[in-house]
Amino acid sequence: MTRFTAILRKEFLLLFRDLHGLLLMFAMPVVFIVVMSLAMQQNFAALGGAKLEVLVHDKAANQDSAQFTEALAASGAFGFSYPASDETIELLAEQVRTDQASFLVEIDPLSEADEAGNTLAVRLTIAPGVNKQTEVIVVAAVEELLRGLKVQKMLADLEDSGMGGGESVEELAAVELQVDYAYQGNTEAAPTAVQQNVPAWLVFAMFFVVVPLSNTLIRERQFGTLRRLRTIAVAPGLLVLGKLLPYFVIMLMQVVCMLAVGVFLIPLLGGDRLELGASWSALTMIAAAVSIAALGYAVFIAAVARTTEQATMLGGAGNIILAALGGIMVPSFLMPETMQQLGQLSPMSWGLQGFLDVLLRNGGLALVWPKALALTVFGLALTAMSLTVMKRSAQA
């Protein structure tokens, strides 16, 4: 057994016997990924094609109202529910108020067209659970449909009066917009919750290596083991490498495990399957880079904390702040611009974007390497700085 294998063996034994550390690194992200992916499935599905539940109460029941509801249905964004005729408007309003339906559309007839030429009075009631973005989109869509109907009616009137240009109303009103999803090179599929959540919570969990690693380093310092190791003729670099390499390996196993959760476990639970992208090399590169950054962060916390309790608190709280800034907990696009810029400072943001490059954007090495480089430099610089601090404090 060489010196290096002795160090590796010791470190692996300690790591595999640290049940709490393993639970933190493996069980926590599995729970996060499963819960968040399944919980947010509807949110992502709404953006990716599932329909918003709309109750339609058509009191007009005439040609115009039929045309309006047909147009709503044709937009593909709404799932309609036409309540039984004996259901009162109060009952329908209650369903919306309690979020059993997202929207209620009441269509009332106008005896004659109003000044603006409208023949229908449409009222839209929005459920309290509907987010602002969806509300804005739905309101705009309904207004656009009403406007379209009005234009069609005007064109029909023109045609009837013989002033048309020979084209039918349908041909005049027709517009064509091609919608593509810039997702994995597949223009017809939208990203799913699992595609967003697996990389986010994976990066978050990888940084939690701070707890077991900083605790073992601090314990070595507290127990005097580090002092003893320094009296043995072993190169300090070998000790550091032997200490960090097993954690690096465990973190790569963590990546494989979490991706497997996305690919195999989530579909079993009724969620979408994680698509891994095309570039294994880019995936490996970003996984290794996040590992190096997280290890550097862990060594830094071990250097500045005096006790394991301090390290656990500092490391855990630091992780949550880095995650909040880095778009792990709240997607960056929901943040104000200043916060988005601040978020760029979080290594978790670099890691997350690197994983998303591969898993969402179908990127390869060329897209990933700048983030991987930044993470690696961050990790190595923190490690070097921390080791200097530790060496100085050992001699003070």
């Binding site: 010196r3 010791k10 640290d18 005097g224 190791l229």
Partner: protein
């Protein structure tokens, strides 16, 4: 009191220190101030001193953990510049239980043996030897965190023996253990010394130092304030006549003994610091009886190291 034997004795030196000084960054005073020290090969050398006296700093320099700032240090004939060579020949058993509680005794020994770079055969032999000396065979496959305090101390010692060191530094190796374990460890140290190993022993338990050491030095405020052979030290210091009497002595009885030397009384316990050596022990006992006192138990002929230590380092608290 300097031991003249050290300066001119024929025995080769295990450790030689001349003019060693060390000051920590931001410290007002040096931790070590022009220390001179010589330790002969095969001796058990006691290094005593109050907390903060400089013992740990001295051990840290001798074991290569700290670099000397001023002065010359030679370990087993090598200057500190050859730290790798020195580290091969030395080992320290720290005061802390410096091993991994989550590993078994065997796994701890295998790890440290691996770090020493021992080949398979040597590793096996050294592990067996260390295990036997420290009486660990029965518990080798249990996790160290389940060991008793005494077993942990013995594992701590066993790890220090793995590289078969020429010089073994023991930093308070018996702190917090029961009498049986302490006795076992002291016996192990005696057997190591008998095998030719040089042992540098620091402890606050004076009776332990008295039991195992040949030479000793007392460090205080970063200086060596005394260096001597233990026998010489105990012999040359003022003799103490220690008695337990049948009854508490009265003032008038004590005044009859005033010419013998200063005395201390604690109940039936009488301690006389003799001004001069008596002609014989019988004559001394006769003087006590003539003062109307009846001794039940007497102790004479050797000083207690603790008394000497306290007289040199004074009794004021240090921390």
């Amino acid at each position: 009191m300097k031991s003249p034997a050290n300066a001119s004795g024929p025995e080769p030196l295990a450790v030689s220190v001349r003019g060693l000084s060390y000051q920590y960054p931001h410290a007002a005073e040096p931790a070590l101030n022009k220390i001179d020290l010589q330790i002969r090969k095969g001796d058990c050398f006691g290094l005593l001193g109050p907390n903060g006296a400089g013992k740990t700093t001295l051990l840290s320099i001798l074991t290569g953990m700290l670099a000397a700032q001023h002065g010359e240090v030679r370990i087993a004939g090598h200057g500190l510049g050859r730290s790798a060579e020195i580290k091969k020949r030395c080992a320290i058993v720290p005061q802390d239980l410096a091993f991994y509680p989550g590993l078994t005794g065997r796994e701890n020994l295998e790890f440290f043996a691996g770090l020493y770079g021992l080949r398979a055969m040597d590793r096996k032999r050294q592990m067996a030897e260390s295990t036997d000396i420290c009486g660990l065979r029965e518990v080798l496959d249990k996790r160290a965190e389940t060991y008793s305090g005494g077993l942990k101390r013995r594992l701590n010692l066993a790890i220090g023996l793995l590289n078969g060191p020429e010089i073994l530094y023991l930093d308070e190796p018996t702190v917090g253990i029961d009498a049986q374990s302490r006795s076992f460890i002291l016996e192990a140290i005696r057997s190591l010394k008998a095998g030719g190993m040089t042992v540098v022993y620091t402890s606050h338990y004076m009776e332990e130092v008295q039991a195992v050491c040949d030479q000793l030095a007392i460090v205080d405020n970063g200086r060596i304030v005394l260096e001597s052979s233990l026998a010489e030290l105990l012999d040359q210091q003022q003799k103490v006549f220690d008695l337990t009497l049948s009854q508490e002595p009265e003032e008038s009885q004590l005044s009859q003994l005033a010419d013998l030397g200063e005395s201390e009384v604690h109940g039936r316990h009488l301690k006389i610091y003799l001004n001069s050596s008596p002609a014989s022990l019988d004559s001394l006992i006769e003087r006590i009886r003539s003062a109307g006192l009846e001794p039940r138990q007497i102790q004479y002929g050797m000083n207690r190291l603790e008394d000497i230590y306290l007289s040199i380092t004074k009794r004021e608290l240090r921390d």
